[in-house]
């Protein structure tokens, strides 16, 4: 299960008693305004969550993986996300069953 716009809309409706139409408009605007700022090459800083930064990448050599033919990768601008300290602390202790033993420092130790 993943969090999507429809659950965020539902949560605004339940938590803040916004009607569905108002909630939908806000959620759409939230992501649209962030996207718009990034499109204008403007960094976005959401305290408590993280920063969306823009990086200009120079042209670099690439290859068509199928034919092996060399094709340059065009210069491009990319979005990167740097999580804030608060979010980092919030997620780092997430106890995924798959990695639980490792995460408490037992990795590589014999369990017998």
């Amino acid at each position: 299960m993943a969090l999507t716009k429809s659950e965020i809309i539902e949560n605004l409706h339940l938590e803040l008693q916004l009607n569905k139409r108002e909630a939908k408009e806000l959620v759409e605007l939230f992501f649209e305004e962030i996207r718009e700022a990034l499109t204008q090459n403007e960094q976005v800083k959401l305290s408590g969550f993280g920063n969306f930064d823009l990086r200009d990448k120079r042209q670099r050599p690439g290859r068509n993986p199928k034919t092996g033919e060399e094709i340059p990768i065009a210069p491009r601008r990319v979005v990167t996300f740097r999580p804030g300290q608060k979010l980092k602390v919030q997620v780092e202790t997430y106890a995924d069953p798959e990695h639980q033993l490792e995460s408490i420092g037992l990795a590589g130790e014999s369990l017998h």
Binding site: R77, E92, H99
Partner: protein, 94 residues
């Protein structure tokens, strides 16, 4: 653009809610996104991108002051993958 500037821009673009309600709603959205990741749940926003957790295995690090080896436990870090639409929009170089 900071969070408060984002809130101001959204207030200017909509007419149904008062500024206080918009501010509360934006804060609630960000909080729900953080809580979702903290619970190990991905976030998927079409046209924008997805957030997920990446695992960093335990490693031996060093105390930068003393140089002593320290065992660092495994942990999760948030990761964002921009969606196709966002990737294309920011890449329309000016």
């Amino acid at each position: 653009m900071t969070k408060s500037e984002l809130i101001e821009r959204i207030i200017a673009k909509q007419s149904q809610l008062n500024p206080r309600e918009v501010e509360q709603a934006i804060k609630a959205i960000i909080e729900q996104m953080a809580d979702s990741l903290a619970a190990g749940e991905r976030i998927e926003i079409r046209g924008f991108g997805s957030f997920s957790l990446h695992y960093r295995p335990p490693r031996v690090g060093r105390n930068p002051k003393t140089g002593d080896a320290v065992l660092l436990t495994g942990k999760y870090v948030p990761h964002f993958k921009p969606g196709k639409e966002l990737r294309e929009m920011v890449n329309e170089l000016d």
